[in-house]
């Protein structure tokens, strides 16, 4: 039963990931007095891309063709480490949050390589920006993870979630909220949302993610987009599950599962609302300002750790 539930969680990631993107789009549309797309639109978009033919540059090598699969599977592997609404995840026993971070890094490594593969200037620009930002985002993310791991006494994602779900909310609130801030900023960077990157633009001066995948079309593009949505979904579910872990199912009873599933949905869409709200209310930062933002994230993580050390556990 545990196994079935764990696999169900991965299927859930695959299905729900696009809907979060839709939800953010919808919020933005509503704020601009537009009706916005229906929820089916994101799936239809993916389906349409999957059916389209592809144009591949004759300069491209096998890296270009293999990348979408590597990216997608590395996102899936990362997904297999994160518990969603059930207390355990599929491969949570075989790895920890360091593995999670490095699976995402694996996908990014090939994503940026593929961007260089066709030899276009946009690709090179996108990949150098992506790598520069992510090398700043990664230590901030790791350190905020470590700050949480310090409190939980374990590096396993399941273990951290379990620890915080058993702890009373108030004593943990202050210092872990610093880690929350840090991870939230990293989420903006990693999922390419507005203060850092604009997913809706193809303006060459500002784009990061879009610049890297400019050469892709058809099925490969669909896989990349999907993998990107999965990554965003994973960051959101990590945030909600670590910082509000209550309501996670620890039994396999149907009613518990149903409740925790609905609770999880409301949490994740609530957090996605925050992301959308930030997108509505901020302008995109200049590229050279983004490192400042990430420095803030790093400092938050340090404060979170330092606070716990000085005040006690």
């Amino acid at each position: 039963m545990n196994l079935i539930l764990s696999i169900a969680q991965i299927v859930l990631v695959l299905i729900l990931a696009p809907s979060v993107s839709w939800w953010i789009k919808k919020i933005k549309a509503l704020s601009q007095n537009r009706i916005g797309p229906t929820i089916l639109q994101v799936y239809a978009d993916l389906g349409k891309l999957f059916q389209k033919g592809m144009v591949i540059s004759d300069q491209a090598s096998w890296i270009f063709r293999a990348m979408p699969y590597i990216l997608f599977s590395s996102a899936l592997m990362a997904a297999s480490l994160v518990p969603l609404f059930f207390k355990s995840s599929l491969l949570g026993f075989s790895g920890d949050l360091i593995l999670f971070v490095y699976f995402l890094a694996l996908g990014r490594f090939f994503l940026t390589l593929a961007a260089l593969d066709t030899g276009t200037t946009f690709g090179g620009m996108g990949s150098s920006r992506e790598m520069a930002l992510s090398s700043l985002a990664e230590p901030a993310l790791l350190l905020s993870f470590f700050a949480l791991a310090y409190r939980a006494g374990t590096l396993s994602i399941e273990g951290i979630v379990l620890h915080f779900s058993l702890e009373a909310p108030f004593p943990i609130l202050f210092f872990t909220s610093m880690a929350f801030g840090s991870m939230l900023i990293v989420t903006f960077v990693e999922s390419g949302r507005i203060p850092v990157d604009n997913p809706a633009t193809h303006l060459e001066l500002t784009m990061i993610h879009e610049a890297m995948i400019l050469e892709y079309s058809g099925r490969c593009l669909a896989l990349i987009e999907w993998a990107h949505q999965i990554k965003q979904f994973l960051f959101l579910s990590l945030l909600v599950n670590i910082f509000s872990p209550w309501g996670l199912a620890d039994s396999t009873m149907g009613i518990h599962l149903l409740f925790s599933f609905l609770f999880f949905l409301s949490k994740i869409f609530g957090l996605a609302f925050v992301i959308g709200w930030v997108e509505i209310h901020t302008a995109k930062l200049r590229l050279f300002r983004v490192p400042d933002l990430l420095a803030i994230a790093f400092v938050f993580a340090v404060i979170s750790l330092l606070g716990q050390l000085m005040i006690g556990r």
Binding site: F50, G53, M54, I56, Q59, S61, W62, I63, R65, Y69, I70, S73, S74, L76, M77, S80, L91, F93, S94, G95, D96, I98, L99, Y102, F103, A105, L106, R108, F109, T112, L113, L116, D117, G119, G124, S127, M131, A132, S134, S135, L136, E138, P139, A140, L142, L143, F146, A147, A149, Y150, G153, T154, L155, S156, R219, L223, F298, V302, L305, L309
Partner: protein, 570 residues
């Protein structure tokens, strides 16, 4: 076992003189003499693995004419056996690579001399890590420095090589001076030249002596290892040597310094002081971050790789620093784990850095330049080299599922074990160091995206690059072996950790059982922070990729032309 070891040493000597005396006319024959080195390395591999598996202790004594210093004793305890293993597997691959690679020098240079120096260079490294006597250790150490100096200036018609050689010569002797000083202090204290007479067997050193010896050893071996304030020779010297020698210099020669440092820290000096660990950690962090930042600015393939050696030595020292710290605070099991991380990374670094240097050598031998700006598009001209180089790049960037990740994970966890122990200072320092390690490895990934992207992807940027072609079989085989090592070292992580556990057990006493670190196929840390199953992860990655691949094939079966576009044939 003893026989294999002796045979290995004799083969190196034989191979050296063979290549010296194969006449210069039979140039084609000469490059084949490298196979003697490969055979010798095979013997070394076999004997060291036997020592590691059987827990045996291999030792023998040659009576020596110089009675003052005692007999020449060579021995392989688990630590020495581990380093012989690292030297042997890399020199096996490098020697096979050299058969093809040294042909490049046939027309221009004296290949006999190259083979001679090459054999004696490896021989001296093996002797350094097995010598049991101060006097002979220093003799072999010097032999290693001299042969590697001549290999650095092998292309002495280039001014850059001569200059690099000079810097190397001076720096390595400054290092040797400090090492000699450290040994002399030990000798004065114990009155014997034999390694066994130090440490637990001698009267305890007092505070000042201990610190003085430690500092001398750290500076001396640190110079050879290339930790950051003492690194200036490394990026100059390593790129100038022929590529298979660069691979050995970067992959294992600087590791002999790690070996020496470990002997001092855990054998000779008794219980360390906690601040030693702190000092090592500071230098380690400095080397890690600055090494990779320097590398990011480089455009020359081999220089860039040399800077990454500094960075990786930093990562190794992070593990050693934690081991010293835990050992000082009397936590042998934790110390053992941290040292396993360091040794594992030593081995992995030999594999992937050797691979990358051989790959760079393959590129240089065909494109005649190591300047990345003039390369490009080589993935189509040299597909095998590209695949091997990519495996090396993924491994050095510490990405799962390859070996770099496993040892980096071990290093991360051994840093984070500082959480549960030690002073508040260490509790704050270690996670920040771990985050810096994360920063460094993200930068390494950035750097290797650049290296691989600019060198192998895109379009050719010069005539040389356009006309390059795939290298010959022996070079492909040499690289392929190391690429296979990168995968095998990841898959067999539990076995390797278990064996390394035995190595550290010999250093920290019977408390630190290997069973604390491995349970069936899981790696786990003694502080119960985390666990990792590298094998499982590897299998799942493979399965997922196959699934996704197959899935897209089946779903779109009706569109044959579409699949043809993808280049898939099934």
């Amino acid at each position: 076992m003893e026989l294999l070891f002796i045979f290995q040493l004799l083969l190196y000597v034989f191979g050296g003189f063979l290549s010296l005396f194969v006449s210069a006319e039979k140039k084609n024959l000469n490059s084949w003499t490298h196979l003697v080195a490969a055979l010798a390395a095979g013997c070394g591999l076999a004997s060291s693995i036997m020592v590691l598996f059987r827990n045996a202790h291999l030792s023998f004594c040659f009576p020596s004419g110089i009675t003052l210093f005692g007999p020449l004793e060579l021995a392989m305890d688990p630590l020495s056996a581990f380093f012989v293993f690292v030297i042997s597997f890399l020199s096996l691959a490098a020697s096979i690579f050299a058969v093809g690679y040294s042909r490049e020098y046939q027309e221009k240079k004296n290949v006999s001399l190259l083979g001679f120096l090459y054999h004696f260079f490896i021989l001296s490294m093996v002797l350094v890590v097995t010598a049991k006597n101060i006097f002979y250790f220093l003799i072999f150490w010097e032999l290693m420095s001299i042969t590697s100096y001549f290999l650095v200036v092998y292309e002495h018609e280039k001014p850059a090589a001569r200059k690099a050689g000079l810097i190397y010569f001076v720096m390595t002797h400054i290092g040797t001076a400090f090492i000699t000083a450290a040994f002399i202090l030990l000798y004065v204290h114990s009155g014997s030249f034999h390694f066994d007479s130090f440490g637990a067997n001698a009267s305890p050193l007092n505070f000042a002596w201990k610190n003085a010896i430690f500092l001398c050893a750290l500076i001396g071996f640190g110079t050879k290892a290339g930790i950051i304030p003492l690194h200036i020779w490394l990026p100059e010297a390593h790129p100038q040597a022929p590529s298979h020698v660069s691979a050995l210099m970067s992959g294992v020669m600087i590791k002999t310094a790690i070996y020496g440092l470990l002997r001092f820290l855990f054998n000779f000096l008794g219980t360390p002081f906690p601040w030693w660990g702190g000092l090592i950690l500071v230098f380690a962090a400095l080397s890690t971050i600055l090494g990779v930042l320097y590398a990011l600015m480089e455009h020359d393939l081999k220089r860039l790789l040399a800077f990454h050696s500094i960075e990786n030595i930093g990562i190794i020292l992070l593990g050693i620093g934690m081991a010293v710290f835990f050992n000082a605070t009397n936590q042998p099991i934790f110390a053992s784990f941290a040292l396993i991380a360091a040794l594992y990374h030593t081995m992995n670094h030999a594999a992937f850095k050797g691979l990358l240097f051989l790959g760079a050598g393959a590129v240089i031998s065909k494109a005649h330049t190591g300047n990345m700006e003039e390369l490009g598009g080589l993935i189509k001209k040299m597909p095998w080299t590209a695949v091997c180089f990519l495996i090396g790049a993924v491994a050095i960037s510490a990405l799962p599922p390859l070996n770099g990740f496993v040892s980096e994970w071990l290093t991360f966890v051994s840093l984070l074990m500082g959480f549960k122990n030690g002073s508040a200072g260490i509790r704050l320092l270690t996670p920040v160091l771990a985050a810096l390690l994360g920063f460094a490895s993200a930068l390494v990934a950035t750097c290797f995206v650049k290296v691989f992207g600019i060198t192998f992807l895109g379009t050719a940027r010069s005539e040389h690059a356009r006309q390059s072609s795939e290298v010959d079989f022996s070079m492909k085989l040499g690289m392929g072996m190391l690429a296979a090592c990168c995968i095998i070292f990841a898959l067999s992580a539990p076995v390797i950790t278990f064996l390394l556990g035995k190595v550290t057990q010999a250093l920290f006493g019977s408390e630190a059982l290997p069973l604390h670190f491995v349970r069936t196929t899981f790696l786990m840390d003694p502080a119960a922070l985390s666990q990792l199953n590298p094998m499982w992860v590897f299998v799942v990655v493979a399965v997922t990729i196959v699934c996704v691949w197959a899935d897209t094939g089946f779903v779109w079966q009706r569109k044959r032309s579409d699949r043809a576009e993808l280049g898939l044939r099934f």
